[in-house]
Symmetry: C2
């Protein structure tokens, strides 16, 4: 139906006849002269309908005069040099003198103009119009190029792209499963996978050696701004590898796709950091290294002061007293300091101490009174605080202090413009194997229950569960965990021991993971892998905060598709067929 | 962990030290000499553990002696020329003299040996062992290469790989939807997509121009041998195209992937056939052209005979009397003829007439008595029947006769070895727009309700609905419909008119397809597409009858995963959370 794309018409085509299809981005009717900006996914070109000696001239002008915004057109004409060059568009040197204009489909008045940015609800309802906008085209097409580049990389290296089931068994990874009633099995249900974790491990035991899948995953969790009910991960698994094999290949892969898709050269190699170091310096297991602020431990400096909150935390082996120095932070007002305290409170802080040092070196701090003058000066010196700075202090349990001080670091980094441009990837390694869940009074897996411990001995793991380190690793980029993986357990005895430590009864192990425990018995190879969050990486590459901008048909934070109206009620007969009924609230 | 793959060790490596990982395919302990066949996905190489002057010799032999079937090993050794060459394996010229053998994971006795072919239930339960078998590795890897080749082809041609939702709204394509209760919306449900049909059309309206997706689709239908609850299609859509644009590109694509994946050169161009011709000559809209038998219409020859069944059908404008000549079929016994009649009955035949012509030209036929001798001879001559042949005759409604005679053609083709080797692709075009559903007393769409009619005028379509031809097309290969598509309706008025003809009320149109009708109003471009059945194409390429052989984790015909045990009962609390309960049978 067409010979060229609108956005690719250039001076090499001058004098040639072309047929173009697209939308009327704008139409200006000057009486005997009509200008139409014709748009396709490649860009815009100017169409001119003007009086010529041709016989069907009147008909041409009549059609051109009727063209309105977003009408779908097919135009045949001749390319010529444009008199008034338009530097704003790629095709600005040329225009197409129309010989024939077909109005393929007339558009009704649109709910919004694509130069506007209406509310997201309107954009999602009329997603087909929203996506026509060049900036949304760019974002989605960036995602497409990312996925294509990843596949190219992996296909060239012997990875097998293998599909795993969507209708499967309830998976054990913490989040809620989506359930699907089974028509042929009354009272039974499939679950949608939270990840292909067990299937990919099984594929390694099945001899596929290297696997990947751009896999749809499902978690029925409260939607936060950056979560969707369904999300996409690049899921990978390797047989007969160590963690360095997985890390080296995927690090090179990520460097390659950043280069190919957005022309960015990431560090080579990525910096590496243990979980312990990341928590100590940045208060986060996904530190944003673009921000140059760091936490400083001050337990030694405060352990003998008169402030019980500090001394108790400083002397507790599971406690922490940490400081965050913000250069230039002395400008913070009382109210702004209260904002910081409120922010810290959201992450578990019971209070937030500070010391402000004004331009002349005068210190004002509610906690100065608990210190000798020289001890306080030594404390500030240890933190490196100078004139014009503010220092925040947090004290309490190690994990809590790290978390809220890490959150303050991010806030201060943003607000004091200390976020450098560019890309800061790193590996975080040596995660704890378990976290102790105070509420449940049991261990929970920090990665997942299939992650191998760093020790080979079951006895050693049992004896030191609380401090055991796993063979897990995360890839972090600009403060986002973009990938996470581990070497997996490949011996059935170790897997059972870890299930035991997680408080999973033998019956539950058998019911939920029987097939895994069986599979491990038949010569399972050592294996490991990783999964990358495609939505997040695409959003980072496209330069957008919201992953909804890189998903063609996302759901809202209330789990709805505003375009199709999903979810929706269904007929009683359909429910009966799958042996369920709606549970009405008890009166 | 390894330097080479087992199956790739060759003479160029003689004298070199290699480290290999794999499974013990066999182990032969000859006392002071142990032979191990070590297998990975590339193949098998022989490992020899033999006495050498080295100090750890005893330890090596001790480990080697313990190696059993499917133990997972890591072996370091030196490649040398083999004395007894084994022509059956790629590496048969060489062997690896072990210096170190690590037993990475001991295998318990296996439920079956991979040289056996146990029942499919056992294979599916222990899928990880089944898939280790070289023939299953080959089948799954053929699928992987198919998908990779398709993506390469499409990525190079500007197609955008865009993901559409899995949690969506009930779709309208006839089959039953899988339902997913929505936790945040009590009493409401998502549905799993039967195809991304409406989303891909929306993507064309959204300016993506050319789309593809290797898409998971879901149909809750009774499972036949060649159906799965979830299946995979290559889903494609193009804006601003005619049917020839879609057909030409995808025909070239299929030719390309057959060449790249299995080295087969398909016809260029594919033959083309209308639906009417396919039904007339082959009694099928997916004719297997490898079989050289054809149906012959004989209404003219029988319309005045004395057999009411024939004359009624011959004179009915919606009737058909067709003959199938089977060369050499006179050898069929009475019982075998009954088998053919029973087979025809399965496809709707009320009876099956025949005429047998023995080697001397004597005719035996239960229907000969209804004809003048010359008329019967003329009938047989028209069919081309000669000595040694049998001719089957079917009479009745056109569609029914075509179907059962088409089924007989396939049966005869197989049983008389008339299925040629090789590949016979074709396009079938000019499908009817509608079928009349006698039970429901309404039209149903032959493709789907979004398929454009060949006529542009709504009035003309309404006036001739029963005979209207659509712009749909199928790609057929060796009797399998491997792809089906159409040019879609792109004007809202035509879409509404087709919905009307299909008996969909305005309220239902609005509720189910409101967003489509809205989207068509805003300058929707002409568009069309196609979807290919990946499971079937992969099975054809891998040379297997069952699509389960090219799906890593298929479900049984009773919709179960024998490995994981899905579906399964879930806890009451989980059901309560999503506001449903199991509907117990009424007593």
């Amino acid at each position: 139906m067409r010979t060229h794309f609108c956005g690719l018409i250039d001076e090499t085509l001058i004098g040639q006849s072309v047929t173009l299809c697209g939308w009327a981005d704008a139409a200006r009717n000057m009486g005997q002269l009509v200008f139409i900006d014709l748009r396709d996914h490649e860009g815009i070109v100017q169409i001119v309908a003007e009086p010529t000696p041709a016989a069907d001239n009147a008909a041409l002008l009549e059609v051109a005069a009727r063209v309105g915004y977003e009408d779908c057109l097919r135009v045949t004409g001749t390319v010529r040099r444009r008199q008034a060059v338009n530097d704003k568009i790629k095709t600005g040197q040329v225009e197409v003198v129309a010989e024939r204009i077909e109005l393929l489909n007339k558009a009704e008045p649109l709910p919004f103009h694509h130069h506007e940015n209406p509310g997201e609800d309107i954009r999602l309802k009329y997603r087909y119009l929203d996506l026509r906008r060049p900036e949304m085209q760019h974002k989605l097409r960036t995602r497409t190029r990312l996925v294509s580049a990843l596949r190219r990389y992996l296909d060239a290296r012997g990875f097998q792209d293998i599909e795993t089931p969507i209708l499967t068994k309830a998976t054990p990874e913490g989040a809620r499963d989506f359930l699907v009633p089974a028509r042929m099995h009354p009272g039974e249900f499939y679950a949608l996978p939270q990840s292909p974790q067990l299937f990919k491990q099984i594929l390694m035991m099945a001899g596929f050696d290297r696997y990947y899948q751009i896999a749809r995953c499902f978690r029925d969790e409260a939607l936060r701004a950056d979560r969707q009910l369904e999300f996409t991960q690049l899921d990978m698994e390797f047989a007969w590898v160590t963690e360095r094999d997985v890390q080296d290949l995927t690090e090179d892969m990520i460097r390659t796709v950043f280069r190919e898709v957005i022309g960015v050269e990431l560090a080579n190699p990525f910096p590496r950091m243990t979980y312990a170091e990341a928590m100590r310096r940045y208060g986060s297991d996904k530190p944003d290294l673009r921000i140059d602020l760091e936490l400083v431990d001050v337990a030694e400096q405060v352990k003998d002061c008169g402030f019980a909150v500090f001394t108790a935390a400083a002397r507790d082996p599971n406690g922490r007293v940490a400081a965050l120095r913000i250069p230039g932070g002395a400008t913070l007002s009382r109210k702004q300091i209260d904002d910081y305290a409120a922010h810290a409170a959201k992450f578990g802080a019971k209070g937030l101490a500070y010391a402000k040092i004004d331009g002349s070196g005068a210190v004002s701090s509610p906690i100065a009174k608990f210190f000798d003058e020289s001890a306080f000066a030594a404390l500030l010196a240890h933190v490196g605080a100078g004139n014009g700075d503010i220092v925040f202090f947090g004290a309490g349990a190690y994990a809590t202090v790290s978390e809220f001080m890490g959150a303050l670091r991010l806030k201060a980094g943003r607000e004091f413009n200390r976020v450098q441009d560019g890309w800061k990837p790193l590996w975080v390694t040596d995660f704890p194997m378990f976290e102790w869940d105070e509420d449940a009074q049991r261990y929970v897996a920090l990665h997942h229950p299939f992650t191998a411990p760093a020790v080979d001995s079951i006895d050693e793991l049992r004896a030191n569960a609380r401090t055991a380190v796993s063979r897990g690793y995360d890839m972090v980029l600009n403060g986002n965990e973009i990938g996470g993986g581990s070497i997996r357990i490949h011996r059935p005895q170790m897997q059972a021991a870890v299930f035991d430590l997680l408080g999973i009864s033998p019956e539950e192990q058998r019911a939920k993971f029987g097939f895994l425990l069986d599979a491990l018995k038949y010569g399972a190879p050592p294996h490991g892998g990783i999964a990358f969050g495609i939505d997040r990486i695409a959003a980072l590459m496209a330069g957008t905060e919201s992953i909804r901008d890189v998903i063609a048909f996302p759901k809202t934070t209330t789990a709805q598709c505003l375009m199709t109206g999903a979810p929706s009620p269904v007929e009683e007969a359909q429910l009966a067929e799958v042996h369920i009924q709606v549970r009405r609230p008890q009166p």
